[in-house]
Amino acid sequence: MTANVTILIQEADFDIAREIAALTKGRTDIGAVVSFSGICRGSEGSGTIAALTLEHYPEMAEAEIARHAESAMSRWPLTGLTVIHRVGRIVPGENIVLVLTASMHRQAAFHAAEFLMDYLKADAPFWKREESADGTSWVDARHHDDAAAARWTKS
């Protein structure tokens, strides 16, 4: 069977159970699904976060995520994957991002999910602006996200 790849960038929330069901529907060759969801925290260090607003570069985000989905499919024996990244205003407790990877065995699904998330954190064209009591500010990139993404390019 062909791999089932879904990539969505949307303002709306997603339903994790429904997405897993869609990824596995009608298939008997899937032995493992790994699910990662990124959720908006209500604090950063000692500060309180009222909301995040996510800006993105639509054409590039779609092209880049598709390219990395293909890369994941070629690196690991996946039967399918789903990436959903939300944009717009998101309040603490709400979902931001979902990565699902499906495979016959768990190891490929774990590795591919981590690869896709490391890439999304470091190189996908999305930017978070944080709202707090002090006003709004752009979130600084974290060096450890770059390091996490870079380890996948080592042989």
């Binding site: 800006e55 570069y57 190189d123 996908a124 064209p125 930017w127 974290r142």
Partner: protein
């Protein structure tokens, strides 16, 4: 060529996109950043620290020494914070 700006680069420049026609002496992404920075105070502020600015040509990440000849769309933005 079309130039797009995102996040705080967009806010500092004061616009999301524009069409520019740099002279032939502007050959690389670095050259374009230096040329844009001279277009006024808003641009100077946006591009005051060129090493933190990331660039993409036609929707793909590029290094700052990449040649811009043939580019249809060049985007400038801060380090990404998605996921």
């Amino acid at each position: 060529m079309k130039v797009k700006y995102f996040a705080w680069v967009r806010e500092r420049v004061g616009k999301a996109e524009e069409t520019v026609e740099p002279p032939a002496s502007v050959r690389t992404v670095d050259d374009l950043i230096a040329w844009l920075a001279k277009r006024g105070d808003a641009y100077a502020h946006a591009f005051e620290t060129p090493r933190v600015i990331r660039a993409a040509i036609d929707h793909a990440h590029v290094k700052s020494d990449t040649m811009i000849a043939g580019a249809r769309e060049i985007a400038f933005f801060p380090p990404m914070t998605g996921g």
